[in-house]
Symmetry: C2
Subunit: 147 residues, 2 copies
């Protein structure tokens, strides 16, 4: 569905959302290890998410690293996709026409558009925070401990 780069972007952002705060930033080493991605490649992706749309925040130097502001936590997943995927699944035609549109629909369009709309809604309505919370539910972070 997405490129490797986008997958890493999503996984990294979710991880950062779960584990970081303005007081506790995370290094690229830890992040890449945690989400099982190539370190330097992931670094570039985080740069992109930091520069292009301010989804991720970063600080250099000792004690520095990456974190998500609480404002960024509330942003929809689609903001990540928007930075990462030039056009992406959302705008593309199943059969590869230049553009998926009503004006020039391919023979799959009528049946596909509803599904596409659901995908768009999903990414629009799901926030980073929600994913982070869900991830915690599935694979509890060990922050809280086990009483």
């Amino acid at each position: 569905m997405f490129s490797k780069a986008t997958e890493y972007a999503l996984r990294a952002t979710i991880y950062i959302a779960r584990k970081s705060s303005e007081e506790h930033k995370l290094g690229i080493e830890e992040i890449a290890k945690a989400i099982n991605s190539p370190k330097s490649f992931t670094a570039k992706i985080l740069q992109k998410l930091t520069a292009n749309n301010g989804i991720i925040s970063s600080v250099r130097g000792p004690g520095g690293g990456f974190y998500l502001s609480s404002k960024a936590q509330k942003r929809p997943v689609r903001d990540i996709l928007h930075v990462m995927e030039e056009d992406g699944v959302l705008g593309k035609c199943v059969l590869g026409l230049k553009k998926c549109s009503e004006a020039m629909p391919c023979p799959m369009h009528a049946e596909y558009k509803g599904i596409k709309q659901q995908l768009i809604q999903l990414f629009e309505h799901t926030t980073i925070q929600q994913l982070a919370h869900d991830a915690d539910r599935i694979i509890p972070s060990n922050k809280q401990g086990r009483h």
Copy 2:
């Protein structure tokens, strides 16, 4: 959504379904021109569809070319995807986990699985014939003429 190769496979198959018969086969030149794809690359794809699963039929030599048997016309689109996409969107996890599954779900899984199921159903239930017919409806082939 799909690779270029898969897009060409779908477009080519639909075109062949619309325009060919066992009595009137189509050459690679015509097909590639019609669907706006690189000729030799498309040739390889048709080879694959001919060899791997018998979706497309071919005959060499003068009067030869590609065509779809009426039996092949009734096959689901998913048969094309199965030949073209090693694993494909249908099996992959949104966040890039090795496998999209209930056993090891990512935080997008619960919301995504319903949409994925719809996609699978769409490709399973839509036949090549239906797409060809729909294509004719949208962009009438000039076979029938204009009254």
